[in-house]
Symmetry: C2
Subunit: 139 residues, 2 copies
DNA sequence: ATTATTACTTGCGTTTTGAAAGTTATTGCA
DNA sequence: TGCAATAACTTTCAAAACGCAAGTAATAAT
């Protein structure tokens, strides 16, 4: 149990990594709108500060949740992508979305509803399809 | 969309509430070992500072995730309990535990493994049984 | 009556966050 | 070829949150 982790509890240890207000939002943006560059993350509707974005991206990379690379022919733009470890955060994010849909209903946008309802109706299949979608998304 | 929330995204809004290193740990302690008093929370293996604990408990109460009450015959000890909204955080916590079990395996304690495996084998039934357990836990 | 317990609150130094501006290296365009 | 725009940061600095230690008030136990 190294210095990152408060205890050897699975829940506590996960929260040591993703237990903040920004990490899962970056991952959400990678999963659903398929964002992959610094400036795309920077333009999220939650307006993350650039220094925080920068530190979160390095942290997530260091922890093996995302990869950082380039596309050939472009030396400027960094391409961030989810590792397997990162992709497996999907069920957590989906359960969070469902909880919000059930419990914070008053102020949420409606456009997420069909999405959440589909997830509710068959969670396993929905997740499986999302994983396929991740694989087939054009780069 | 009031001042608490950065956007009207379900995931972002949930993280505005539970997106920190402590809230879900308090809720974990209420769910699994069935903790219900200030001093019990204070003794968790992650050693939360008393001022943080105090502020999280009021925040969670204000947000309708926990209730604060007394038991008859004891004017000293406050009893905290999960509301329905709070209990429904269970699936999120279970998915977090599963993710850790799959991805942080190296440093976790083994005692959680049978628990996580049981969840993996049939998530819906496992969650349903946990909800029943919450109801029947002696006070 | 005294001590212990419970649930805090306060003070204060440290760390993290957040807004804004600045920097460096490409890249697109005239 | 030169210049503006873009991408990805880094720096600065004030404000907020955190975390440790100590203190307090009410109740309960001895």
């Amino acid at each position: 149990m190294n210095k990152h982790f408060r205890s050897n509890c699975p829940i506590s240890s996960a929260l040591d990594i993703i237990g903040d207000k920004w990490s899962l939002l970056i991952i959400r943006d990678m999963m659903f709108p398929g964002k992959k560059t610094y400036s795309e993350f920077s333009n999220s509707s939650e307006k993350i500060a650039t220094n925080i974005l920068s530190s979160r991206l390095s942290m997530l990379e260091e922890l093996g949740i995302i990869n950082k690379g380039k596309e050939e022919g472009n030396k400027k733009t960094n391409i961030y992508s989810l590792t397997q470890k990162g992709k497996e955060l999907l069920p957590i994010i989906l359960e969070i979305a469902q909880w919000s849909d059930n419990n914070l209903n008053d102020h949420l946008k409606d456009s997420a509803k069909p999405f959440v309802n589909k997830f509710k109706s068959n969670k396993d299949e929905f997740a499986k399809n999302m994983y396929l979608f991740f694989e087939n998304r054009k780069r």
